[in-house]
Symmetry: C3
Subunit: 361 residues, 3 copies
């Protein structure tokens, strides 16, 4: 048994990564072959040829129209994974087919389902609509992480680390000092962690992108949809600017939607997709370049730290004790939900708990 | 228990690799020290000093005439592995000797026996006489393979992969399309796979070396002597050329003897010896250079593919299913023979089956 | 259970390695953080933050005066390992403290105790007073060894290897040829191996540093304090020079104190501290440079050999046989003492054997 939560949608790639070319990526330990048909549909099937297990994503395997030809002995498959041709004989064995995976494109991501097939349709894919909305400009990337995905979940649900690990980029003293509000919805598998700073220093990340020169009101509202999607609704406004209006509009503030998709590759490695969408300076290429460079730097600071941490955790006996404090409330809630989902092998619809337990300390 | 077939002869090296110098090579997990005496005899003994296990093939270990001097504390051994001198005392302990291995030179190869010593003499070494015959010119090499030897056996017994993995070198569509005839002689441990193409494209490998410009008759007659020696008798002739004569001569065709020695190094790595002997253009250095370069390229295509495949196979659960078809008949027969030989820890003479089962599909 | 002897003092570093900076070093599998307070005291505490196990020796963890600030979330610790500040709340959990280790500075080394705390005080630290004596000049270094520490103990207790592995540096034929006297004091855990050569070639190491041109009297008196400290009292004099006087002075000879501290890092790696102290040419920088370069070369010859040997030993089945002879008497005695100390989890004071067993052969 692995620790993976199987009956959930995972981000496998950005849609732009998948073209009419063979593309292999491992999701939750399953090696999957992705490619886009000539009509533009994304397909997902097992990556290894049924014959002698050759990886179909590797040269000289190739696409021939909408067929995948294995580079070893020429077994040939259609977009549904069914084998249509084998070498040296006319008859194709009936069982010759690659497992295919449910796959969807949504919000600039390619989502894949590795669990029980009949549960895919009924399980909603969480949304990150900013990523392909014309009202936002997005910069983004993906960094491979040589660490178990739980370490990234811990990291993102406790932003007090910004002050220390990302000081001079996105961290200021107020982030670590300001208490948080945590809300864990066991039923839907969503954890919310909020930290509202009324009067805080403006870190370079926001100062240079928004042009604000003084102190700011800074809201960090995290919304983690276990296991894969992490949203950070970030609101920045000069101190004294008006609050959001009753109708939801908020013209006095700058909004940044920070999106992470956290996809386990193996038990000890993770695909770390990150995107930063903003509702200001939409056409300003300098701001885009600055935010892309700056956020990649921040992500790589996490990557270095978490890769080191993986080495520590992997070298210590399993039960080694940690000490948790208030800032960890969100992360601990996420761990509980992930453990439950992994144990149940179950989707979010099966949660039996009451809808939401507010934890404020 | 390992999967190695122990009571068989293995190729450890080309004879030309072993001079009056210490040379270490691991065969079926056994680290062996080879060197040639001043009289020119090849010796084979355990590679690690009996005293503190220092590897005798490594500097500053050295040969002193026909004695090996350990580079750590100076234990000194004769060509039979018997210790003749130790430091700090005159008396040499009677048990101080390196295990020695039966070793033979034949057909340009150095063969070694790692199994029960008293069975070596009675077990014939399979022949590849072309490699040092004046009627043939040979090009050859050895590539280390980071894959279990069974993957190379599979590879070589199913040449339909030439069409896909080696297209543009030795593969043409006819290889994959033409049915094979398979014959497995369980008693002698020999598998024969034949594919006779009457009218086939001539791949560059043969076109440039023979000078044939049109289509060819191409015969591939494989003779695999489990576990170590693989022979591919390759006959190429212009379409319409006469068949071989009743007396065995065949002046209308070109003959290439492709020889592989498949020697397990460890459970997951293999010494891949390859040689290409031809009976034409004997003194044409250009043809030699072309065939050497071209065949090495082909071997390295296999190495890359099999190294990848080893990663796949090693990462999958042991029972992961493969799907076999007609082209795999030879490979499956080889697997059965290898499994039997490994289980028996037995030589070829112990096979109890009837002499030969023809399998044609 | 590991093979480590825990209730003993180990050299963690040279005192000069530890400044007012975070310094991580693993001793017997325990990752330890060292730093010097502003007052100059060396501290030793567990290297991983109690919160989420981040390594406190790694950037961006940092010292703030006499406090360690974790680079991940800012947990802050005093020199005693007690946590004094955590992010997001005023109250510091009472259990938030890093394990601290007894630590001492003596003879230029920083010694650490990883065993039962209440036994540290009563266990003496063995001495190597030459290293910071004004009557000696010392050159020194530390080389990481990718081999279990027992292989280095074997190596140093049998100097006959000098003739083979270090020929041309410190070895001459007489070292391997001359018999040894061995004395193992099971109670104190000390092994003594002596080899007195009355008329020996003078190896370059001593010829160039002492200026002696002819043959020498060469004494090698080893004193190994299991597990960590190895002393080689080396006496060199021209043949015919007077013996040491009754009062212990020895003006006719040159004395070199070769000191090794052998500190296991993990089960398969070792910190190899080496120092060479001399009582002659005290201010001669050329002699210092020569001895430093030459001894480092010798140590690296050992490192290369032992790293290879570790590969051999790790690849062989645990019970693989070795053959021991007279020169191994010291090494075998050391192994017995180390095995006893590891089994008892006990310090040297607990030995029950008679005080000293002379073994001469």
């Amino acid at each position: 048994m692995t620790s993976f939560v199987r009956n959930q949608w995972y981000v496998a790639a950005y849609g732009s990564e998948i073209g009419h070319e063979l593309f292999g990526r491992t999701v939750c330990g399953e090696p999957i072959l992705f490619w886009r048909t000539e009509a533009g549909e994304v397909t997902a099937m097992a990556e290894h040829c049924v014959h002698r297990r050759f990886p179909l994503s590797r040269s000289p395997s190739r696409l021939d129209g909408d067929r995948v030809v294995c580079g070893y002995h020429g077994f040939t498959y259609g977009p549904d994974g069914v084998c249509v041709s084998v070498p040296g004989q006319r008859r194709v064995p009936r069982t010759a087919r690659l497992a295919s995976y449910p796959v969807r494109e949504q919000d600039a991501f390619v989502w894949v389902w590795i669990g029980e097939r009949d549960r895919a349709e009924g399980t909603p894919i969480p949304r990150a609509p900013w990523l392909d909305s014309p009202e936002y400009t997005t910069v983004r990337g993906m960094e491979p992480l040589a660490a178990r995905y739980g370490l990234l979940v811990d990291n993102l649900l406790d932003l007090s680390h910004e002050t220390y690990l990302h000081g001079g980029y996105i961290g200021t003293p107020e982030v670590a000092e300001t208490p948080i509000t945590t809300e864990a919805d066991e039923t839907s598998g969503i954890v919310r962690v909020s930290r509202h700073m009324d009067d805080a220093a403006c870190p370079p990340f926001y100062a240079r992108s928004t042009g604000i020169e003084g102190r700011i009101t800074r809201w960090q509202d995290i919304e983690y949809h276990a296991p894969c999607l992490y949203l950070l609704h970030s609101r920045i406004a000069p101190v004294g600017a008006p609050e959001p209006r009753a109708d939801g509009t908020d013209p006095g503030a700058f909004h940044v939607e920070v999106v992470y998709a956290i996809t386990p590759e193996t038990e000890h490695s993770t695909h770390d997709f990150w995107a930063v969408a903003r509702d200001f300076a939409l056409d300003d290429q300098q701001v885009s370049t600055f935010l892309a460079d700056n956020n990649r730097t921040v992500v790589l600071q996490d990557v270095v730290a978490l890769d080191q941490l993986e080495q520590v955790v992997a070298s210590e006996p399993p039960g080694t004790q940690e000490l948790s404090i208030n800032i960890d409330t969100g992360g601990l809630a996420a761990r509980r939900i992930l453990a439950r989902l992994a144990t149940e092998g179950a989707g979010s619809a099966e949660g039996a708990g009451a809808a939401g337990t507010a934890v404020t300390r």
